[in-house]
């Protein structure tokens, strides 16, 4: 792949974003949240795209070293913002979750910023600890203890999905950074058990889990969305019913513009498009992994793999949910679902990968060429 990895990455991301905008235009008219404007989501997403592209270019211009240098600050600010969103006067609550901080007509989800900040912090941690990463205490337990603060805040929101991603992405970074494998597996098991406990303690979550196992019996409850998502995908068949011709988006499938946009894509454009999208995500992951694998040093490698995993895992989680493989969690599909903060986060991740790419050492490369940043 060599130098082309970045080109492929940018092309894939641009394709996903373009497809996402088309789908938002398609479903936008039928959402109860569109404030009466057919293209409301498209316009909003366009604005966020501009912001995200700027951040992407900015991060791609910025050295990984500089970024890691300010890792603590970035993480600290993100944690404070998450805390802000919980304060009734400052934060905004939608459907029982205090996840937003309103900024004029827009609202920012600090949880999304925190995801990226956590990955940066963990990569920074890898850099500071150096060889001590092999020690289970310094390489694993200590960083997770630090993370306990923002994770608890996320659980309080509640935004269990983001909390899980923060932990999982950190685990990836630490794993790549040299953390011992066995304690990591143990810690992972403890984490899963913890999630299970939290789920049982929150009846609404438990219902989601149970209904996932038997969607037919929970048609009107938690299984409803998944049932409708499967109907949308299945009725699309191989070739789809045609762009804009979805019926499931006519209020059958809730959240058709955010978490459940993929089934509408499957209904309108068919298996050809859904497999295509999965393939493109796979390409993004492979490019990210390739860039990370050839990064200049260990911390950069960890950072690259961390941001790649952040995007890839979200994609997997969303696809798993909408195809009925995983319990519903409230995770958007990166680059495609409506949601400004997540789009900015994902574009930020791409920016970091492009920045790493500039300094990467690819095999069979006599001379380093400079790639112009992805945003330009």
């Amino acid at each position: 792949m060599g130098r082309n990895s970045a080109h492929i990455l940018v092309a894939c991301v641009a394709g996903l974003i373009g497809l996402g905008l088309i789908m938002l235009a398609s479903v936008g008219a039928f959402s109860p949240d569109n404030r009466g404007q057919t293209l409301f989501f498209l316009q909003r997403q366009g604005l966020w795209l501009a912001v995200g592209a700027g951040i992407c270019v900015g991060l791609s211009r910025c050295d990984a070293k500089t970024l890691l240098h300010y890792a603590g600050w970035i993480f600290g600010i993100a944690t404070v913002l998450v805390a802000f969103s919980l304060i009734p006067g400052l934060g905004k609550s939608v459907k029982g979750s205090a996840r937003w901080i309103p900024l004029g007509p827009f609202a920012v989800q600090p949880g999304e910023i925190l995801k990226l900040a956590t990955v940066i912090l963990a990569a920074g941690w890898v850099k500071w600890q150096g060889p001590r990463m092999k020690n289970a205490w310094y390489g694993l337990v200590l960083p997770f203890l630090i993370l306990l603060v923002p994770v608890c805040l996320l659980v309080k929101q509640p935004d269990l999905g983001s909390a899980a991603f923060v932990l999982a992405a950190t685990a990836v970074v630490l794993f790549v950074g040299g953390a011992p494998i066995l304690p990591l597996v143990v810690l992972g098991c403890v984490g899963v058990a913890g999630v299970g406990l939290v789920a049982i303690s929150m009846p609404e979550r438990l219902d989601r889990l149970v209904s996932f196992m038997n969607p037919e019996a929970h048609r009107q409850g938690g299984g409803y969305q998944v049932t409708q998502a499967l109907i949308a995908l299945g009725s699309g068949g191989v070739r789809g019913v045609g762009l804009g011709q979805s019926i499931q988006k006519m209020f059958y499938l809730p959240e058709a513009h955010t978490d459940f946009i993929f089934p509408i894509l499957g209904e309108e454009l068919g298996l050809v498009a859904t497999l295509g999208v999965v393939l493109v995500f796979l390409m993004v992951t492979l490019c990210g992994g390739y860039i990370a694998g050839h990064a200049s040093d260990l911390s950069a490698m960890a950072l690259g793999m961390g941001v790649t995993a952040l995007v890839g895992m979200q994609a997997v989680a969303n696809l798993g949910v909408v195809t009925g493989l995983l319990p519903p969690k409230g995770v958007g599909l990166p680059f495609i679902s409506y949601g400004g903060s997540n789009l900015v986060l994902c574009l930020g991740a791409v920016g970091i990968l492009l920045s790493l790419h500039r300094e990467a050492k690819y095999p069979a490369e006599a001379r380093q060429r400079r790639l112009v940043g992805g945003g330009q």
């Binding site: 299945g234 999965v278 992951t285 992994g289 390739y290």
Partner: protein, 581 residues
């Protein structure tokens, strides 16, 4: 493990996840797509019935006797009106009521309150155009009978029935004929409901872009009756006059055209108003001229006399000794209402002598009397096949082996037999029609919405009951009835020769003939030499001193015949001129 291998491990892990998702997608969208598609169709589509408008019932010249009209109900949502008070004056002015009244009606608790119904289609359009939120308009259909109780028993009435159609979840309210022409012609009047298969969104609103199929309704056909509304009106008024004058138990009048058997008018009392569904009484809905059987009395004498003439055993000038008013036969006495000596056959008919008629019958024999009674249509239903009125009775005529010794003297004068008024009218119609007995016709045709004839009911001869010469003689005898020598002097119609016969039958009360309860009847037709129409009147139990058929029903015949002759534009002068020859 080298860091790069760890990176590769994580990347491959993610790649594996994507592969699993891909397999799952193939499973859903390729392997199982049909079952999901079926599920989608099941939950997205629904069938909707498109109601067909019921056809109208028209009189012979196309005047509407029954029609289905849109009926619009206005329902007020008191809660929404309270939220949007500015709609109040607008609604009040549209409905033509005062705002205060409307305000008083509005109940914030009641979200489905009927405040008006039967508003015009124009008002409905205005309300819809104004998009008033607090009002809901419901379009229903109502069967309207513009003439009220006139023709009611012929037309019958409809009921709204909820019908479940295949593939359509919501039952359709259909007007179903329950009596009269509404019932017998229901399959033509009803039409065929159409069907729309639509795709709807999750809150069940149609998505018009995706309409699957649209089969329009086929509106019901119109049914054209032989009844003439003008004649019917005359008949109805006379029935009312008879009711007022005699307070009878019931009145029946039939007007028909002897040459075709077409019923021009028919009514009975008591009656009902099909527009007022709640006021129906079982007895009033009954179409008595076809559904009530009774002992006809003297009007039945024509059977015996016509049989005698047809068989050639007697002639108009044959004379019979009428036993001075009382004849003993079979151990019982038979009386005339006056003592007669020698009477010609002509006089026997004119004066309605029971004894004379009995003697003719005895001369003919039981078998012949029975045979001619059958030929004249007694003891059997007159209508066959399609286009009939429901509920007809066939009457009673026992076969000769069940006759008693006395029957041969009783049956010729209209006792021990029972017939409907329509049967009597048709028997007289046969005489008026040169001996040809016609099937009755109440329905002329079925036409579609573009006035093309779908089905036509042509006149039909049932049989030649008697020879034309015999019929002519019979008419001559009947002309004697409506003369100063006959029993129905009052039935004379100025300008026309009338032929007819009176009947005054004692009613049976608790198994025996009552002394003071009678059925008075008159059946006549004109012009006698070329009959255009026939009127049969029956007054059941006239109260007061007058009860003879000639005195009760005779004048009523005159009233009706005079007006009907005018309605049919019969040429008076021509008749008079012919008489002069």
């Amino acid at each position: 493990m080298k860091p790069r291998n760890r990176v590769m491990g994580v990347t491959l892990g993610l790649a594996l996840c994507f592969t699993i998702v891909s397999c799952r997608l193939i499973w859903i969208q390729l392997v199982n797509q049909e079952s999901y598609r079926a599920e989608a169709i099941r939950s997205h589509t629904r069938g909707e019935a498109v109601p067909a408008q019921r056809g109208s019932i028209l009189d012979v010249s196309g005047r509407v006797l029954a029609q289905s009209m849109p009926w619009i109900e206005v329902r007020l949502d008191g809660k929404l009106l309270a939220e949007e008070p500015r709609e109040l004056p607008m609604l009040a002015s549209l409905l033509g009521v005062s705002a205060e009244w409307l305000k008083g009606q509005a109940d914030p608790e009641n979200r489905y309150q009927k405040i008006a119904e039967g508003i015009s289609v124009e008002t409905e359009a205005k309300i819809r155009a104004n998009k008033l939120r607090s009002v809901r308009l419901e379009r229903k259909t109502i069967r309207n009978y513009p003439n009220g109780s006139e023709t009611a028993q012929i037309l019958g009435y409809v009921n709204l029935q909820e019908m479940n159609l295949a593939g359509i979840e919501k039952p359709l309210a259909v007007e179903v004929g329950e009596a009269g022409v509404e019932k017998s012609m229901d399959r033509y009047l009803r039409g065929v409901a159409g069907e729309r298969r639509i795709i709807h969104d999750a809150i069940r609103r149609e998505i018009p872009y995706f309409r699957l199929s649209d089969r329009p309704a086929r509106d019901g056909y119109h049914v054209v009756l032989t009844v003439d509304q003008g004649i019917q009106h005359v008949v109805e008024r006379e029935a009312d006059a008879l009711v007022e004058k005699y307070q009878p138990e019931s009145v029946q009048i039939v007007v028909l055209r002897p040459s075709t058997g077409e019923v021009l008018g028919m009514t009975s009392r008591p009656t009902f108003d099909p527009n007022q569904r709640k006021t129906f009484e079982a007895g009033a809905v009954k179409d008595r001229p076809i559904a009530d059987i009774y002992e006809p009395g003297s009007t039945f004498k024509i059977v015996t006399v016509a049989a005698g003439l047809n068989e050639g055993v007697v002639d108009l000038d044959s004379t019979f000794f009428c036993e001075n008013g009382e004849m003993f036969y079979g151990g019982s006495s038979l009386k005339d209402h006056e003592a007669y000596g020698m009477l010609s056959l002509r006089e026997i008919v004119a004066k309605s002598s029971n004894i004379g008629t009995a003697k003719v019958a005895i001369q003919l024999g039981e078998e012949k009397v029975y045979e001619y009674a059958r030929l004249f249509g007694f003891g059997q239903k007159t209508q066959k096949g399609e286009g009939i009125l429901p509920g007809e009775e066939g009457g009673l005529l026992r076969p000769t082996k069940k006759w008693s010794k006395l029957s041969i003297t009783r049956i010729p004068m209209g006792y021990e037999v029972a017939a409907t008024n329509l049967q009597m009218a048709l028997a007289y119609g046969a005489i008026a029609n040169g001996g040809k007995r016609m099937e009755p016709r109440i329905i002329k045709a079925v036409v579609d919405r573009d006035n093309r004839v779908v089905l036509q009911f042509l006149p039909k001869v049932v049989c030649q009951a008697i020879k034309p010469e015999a019929a002519a003689k019979m008419v001559e005898a009947l002309r004697g009835v409506v003369s100063d020598q006959g029993t129905a002097e009052g039935a004379q119609v100025p300008g026309y020769e009338v032929a007819g016969k009176t009947g005054t039958a004692k009613k049976v009360v608790q198994g025996d003939y009552a002394k003071d309860k009678y059925r008075s009847s008159f059946i006549g037709f004109l012009p006698a030499d070329k009959p255009e129409f026939l009127v049969s009147i029956l007054v059941d139990e006239p109260k007061g001193k007058v009860y003879y058929g000639g005195l009760v029903a005779g004048p009523a015949f005159k009233n009706i015949a005079t007006q009907v002759a005018e309605q049919l534009h019969l040429n008076r002068e021509a008749v008079v001129a012919r008489r002069g020859n």
